[in-house]
């Protein structure tokens, strides 16, 4: 599958786009002229080693980090200087690394906080029901503290919380980090399931093999620069990538 196969190719407006983005933490140059686009309904993965700028890319897309130069575009509109809430309202949502639930609040409160910026009560309730249908376990645990859930359940709540904002694109930061091997597979199934509902997904992963096996396209970041940009199949076949990320020689 490629971007054009989805019918979201060159002609359509990118859902999210980075144009020549540079970011700095203090004087340290993190992202260097990063440039890419995500189209509606795509599943894209971002690969890269430690300190390659993966998380910073996500933060810049959401607005937690402001680029020093360059622009972030949402539906063709420049949102570089817009606050996080502006982007969340227009369909960008992050699933943070390690799930990061509000551990001492109930599962229900967690889900409601996902819909913090929405006021359409009936639509929110409909989305709640949708999430319960997807994760019956979450409904059983509704009044329990989120911190008391098991790892798998927490992952469900984290994804449910993100879906409560009615997103057009989910930014997922290392969704399989800290999960047991048996759960990683389930987790990717889950991502595929959400993707099949028409939500674009931008996933940052260390587990390159697994991520590429479900993705349409992928990029590889190296010390803040995009060094590879191709379809998932091509990346999986790429000998350089196999050598550096998939642990093969």
């Amino acid at each position: 599958m490629s971007a054009t196969d989805n019918g979201t190719g060159n002609g359509a407006t990118a859902l999210l786009e980075m144009r020549g983005v540079n970011t700095h933490y203090g004087a340290v140059h993190i992202l260097k002229d990063v440039e890419f686009s995500i189209y509606p309904g795509e599943l894209v993965c971002l690969l890269g080693g430690n300190a390659s700028g993966k998380s910073t890319t996500l933060k810049a897309l959401l607005g937690m980090v402001t680029p020093t130069t360059g622009d972030v575009l949402l539906n063709g509109e420049t949102v570089t200087d817009k606050p996080i809430s502006y982007r969340v309202e227009r369909g960008v949502t992050m699933v943070p690394e390690n799930r990061r639930l509000f551990k001492r609040l109930s599962v229900k409160d967690n889900l409601e906080l996902g819909a913090f910026l929405r006021s359409d009560r009936s639509a929110i309730d409909a989305d709640l029901e949708r999430i319960f249908a997807m994760f019956p376990r979450v409904k059983e645990r509704l009044n329990q503290k989120a911190g008391t859930l098991s790892g798998g359940e927490q992952q469900m709540v984290a994804i449910g919380r993100a879906l409560m904002s009615d997103p057009k694109v989910l930014l997922m930061d290392e969704p399989s980090m800290g999960l047991a091997p048996a759960l990683v597979q389930t987790n990717f199934e889950l991502i595929k399931q959400i993707h099949s509902q028409g939500v674009a997904i931008f996933v940052v992963e260390q587990n390159a093999n697994m991520a590429l096996s479900i993705a349409d396209r992928g990029w590889v970041l190296q010390t803040g620069r995009v060094v590879l940009d191709d379809t998932a199949e091509a990346l999986l076949a790429n000998p350089d990538l196999r050598a550096s990320y998939l642990g093969e020689t």
């Binding site: 959401l62 551990k103 609040l105 913090f116 503290k145 048996a182």
Partner: protein
């Protein structure tokens, strides 16, 4: 994994353990700890200071109580060994009584040694309370040899008493406990009860009180006996009914529960409005002080309990409220103010108080909320002092009166009908009550609002809250502003009540005391905050306000400290626990208990993730 505490099973035919089958190390630990605590209490001079306050005339003073309760409690505690589920359990018997007795004996030996040391050495230099009066008290005025000899049997007897209490059946223990508590409570709350009886004089209450209390203070012998019987009878018969009513209430659901709650609230409200009419000055004064701290604590509860911002300089807003109201209403203003400035009514001044407090909340909050955790606490601590020092400084002295403060504050004019000020504590109490009602309502609404939810999210995880689209800067500033306004109300009332404000009224200790009230009562819990204020401010007293136990005023901070440490260790959820918070704080124990009972949900993924706090599984729902 720590031990699991479950109520011991009590089938009839459990074997008793042999008399000398003791956990000797545990006995020794408890005994030595008791001895150290007893010596410490003696050296704080508490027994001597409290000896003048008679509980039961003429035999028992509060001084002796301050020492005597310890061996009994330690004797009881040493018997309460944790019962490990799955391990054999035993019947309670002579072995436990012996354990209590041994602990009491070791503890008593501590005081024996102290008595002899007091007589033979002079350590007055480092230990200021090393005095002949203490020796006199400890030896019952009969010399150190007698003192040495007498504390061993006293300790033994009290420890045995503690052990016996453990062995007694639950009902018997309850009856004795209530009898004891009733006597002590009536003795301790003598002032209020006499004050109250004057209000109900028409019902003959005074005659009853004259019967119970001795003229110069303390219960009479027969009064104490009557009270003990009443307390015991209540425990034996009334308590079951009270519990049944409580269970009935808790079983209510939906609208009937809401209605019952509303009725309860209404009853409390009516009682608070009507009762002060029957109370004398002393009690109303106490209630007014409690109310001032309820206001402060409710405000801090929003900042610390809901938004999770540890503000140690909260007194700043109290001070700003007090000074603003004081300066605007006084007839004796600092010389730097222009002559044309009118003397405001308190009500008009209150508008400025609110505006200034909100602005101060913004100004202090803005730089502070960028920090997190420890840094924030330290910086707020600094701001609290800065405000006080500014009021004290020469720079603002022309406006604030520097060390002389602001005086001649006239009080509150109510529609030109009456003036509320400190000389009429009942009116002050009503004024405080009015503002408390507002504060309670505001807190209650905020907790359930969108803003309240944002605060809780920020308390839990600030960056994720931000990622959810919550404007964390605004939300935290709002917490500061709401907290500041509530504190400023309290300050404004204080100014009108006392008639003067000084920099010294707003020392850092006030911040600490408010925080302790919030923690002891139960963080994030409105009822808890109120109970915390009543217990700490009403009974022990505030930083400058005397409480019911005026004799304890010197030991107020000591007791605060002990209470705080004990609460943090044993009951971190506060006196009035928030059901949700209790669960989260004791999660581990619940889980282990459930696991032992085989109720735990052990599906594949509950062990899969090493990162959850809640291993080894989840609570059964």
């Amino acid at each position: 994994m720590s031990a699991v505490f479950v109520e011991p099973h009590t089938p009839e035919n459990l074997p008793a353990r042999r008399l000398l089958d003791q956990d000797w190390r545990r006995l020794l630990n408890y005994g030595v700890l008791l001895a150290l605590v007893l010596v410490f209490v003696a050296l704080t001079n508490m027994p001597v200071k409290l000896d003048r306050r008679m509980l039961i005339e003429p035999i028992f003073s509060m001084g002796y109580l301050s020492v005597f309760w310890l061996p009994a409690v330690f004797g009881l505690l040493v018997c309460r060994e944790p019962v490990l589920a799955g391990m054999p359990s035993y019947a309670k018997g002579r072995r436990e009584v012996l354990a209590g007795a041994m602990v009491g004996l070791i503890g008593g030996a501590g005081l024996s040694v102290l008595t002899v040391l007091l007589d033979n050495f002079d350590l007055r230099d480092p230990l200021v309370n090393w005095s002949p009066q203490l020796l006199d008290l400890l030896s019952f005025g009969r010399g150190s040899t007698f003192g040495f000899a007498i504390w061993l049997p006293i300790g033994l007897a009290l420890g045995t008493l503690g052990g016996l209490t453990h062995v007694l059946s639950t009902t018997a223990r309850r009856v004795l406990g209530w009898a004891f508590v009733t006597v002590v409570a009536f003795a301790v709350f003598e002032t209020v009860i006499i004050d109250l009886s004057e209000g109900f004089a028409s019902l003959g209450a005074e005659r009853v009180v004259d019967e119970i209390y001795f003229i110069r203070g303390g219960l009479t012998m027969h009064g104490a006996a009557i009270l003990a019987v009443c307390g015991g009878l209540f425990a034996a018969f009334g308590r079951d009914q009270a519990q049944r009513a409580k269970a009935q209430f808790q079983a209510l659901e939906g609208t009937s529960r809401t209605r019952a709650n509303a009725m309860g609230l209404l009853a409390c409200g009516v009682a608070l409005v009507v009762l002060p009419l029957f109370l004398g000055g002393i009690t109303n004064e106490l209630l007014a002080n409690v109310g001032l701290f309820v206001l402060l604590a409710l405000g801090l509860n929003i900042v610390v309990g809901l938004a999770g911002i540890l503000d140690l300089g909260y007194v700043a807003f109290f001070a700003i409220g007090g000074y603003t109201a004081g300066i605007l209403t006084t007839t004796n203003r600092g010389e730097s103010w222009p002559d044309w400035m009118p003397d405001f009514y308190w009500g008009t001044a209150l508008i400025f108080v609110v505006i200034l407090a909100a602005l101060a909340g913004l100004f202090i909050g803005a730089p502070v909320i960028r920090m997190r955790g420890d840094y924030l606490a330290i910086v707020t601590l600094g701001f609290g002092e800065i405000i006080r020092l500014l009021f004290l400084s020469d720079w603002l002295g022309g406006y604030t009166g520097a060390a002389q403060g602001v005086t001649n504050i006239p009080g509150v004019q109510v529609f030109g009908l009456a003036t509320v000020k400190g000389t009429d504590p009942r009116a002050v109490f009503y004024l405080v009550l009015f503002f408390c009602a507002i504060a309670i309502y505001v807190s209650w609404r905020l907790e359930r609002s969108r803003l309240g939810r944002a605060w809780m999210a920020i308390r839990e995880d600030e960056s994720v809250a931000e990622a959810m689209g919550i404007n964390t800067v605004n939300a935290k500033l709002m917490a500061f502003v709401v907290g500041a306004v509530l504190a400023s109300f309290s300050g404004a009332i204080l100014a009108a009540k006392v008639g003067s404000v000084f920099p010294n009224s707003f020392i850092i200790l006030v911040s600490i005391v408010i925080l302790v009230v919030v923690i002891v009562g139960g963080m994030g819990n409105i009822v808890g905050v109120i109970v915390g204020s009543v217990v700490l401010i009403g009974i022990l007293g505030g930083p400058r306000q005397p409480g019911l136990l005026q004799e304890f005023s010197e030991y107020k901070l000591l007791i605060y400290g002990v209470l705080l440490v004990w609460m943090m260790l044993k009951r971190p959820e506060g006196l009035v626990p928030n059901v949700r918070r209790t669960r989260e704080l004791h999660q581990e124990e619940y889980l282990q208990d459930a696991w032992l009972r085989g109720e735990i949900d052990t599906d594949a993924d509950s062990h899969a993730d090493g990162g959850t706090d809640a291993e080894p599984g989840v609570l059964p729902t």
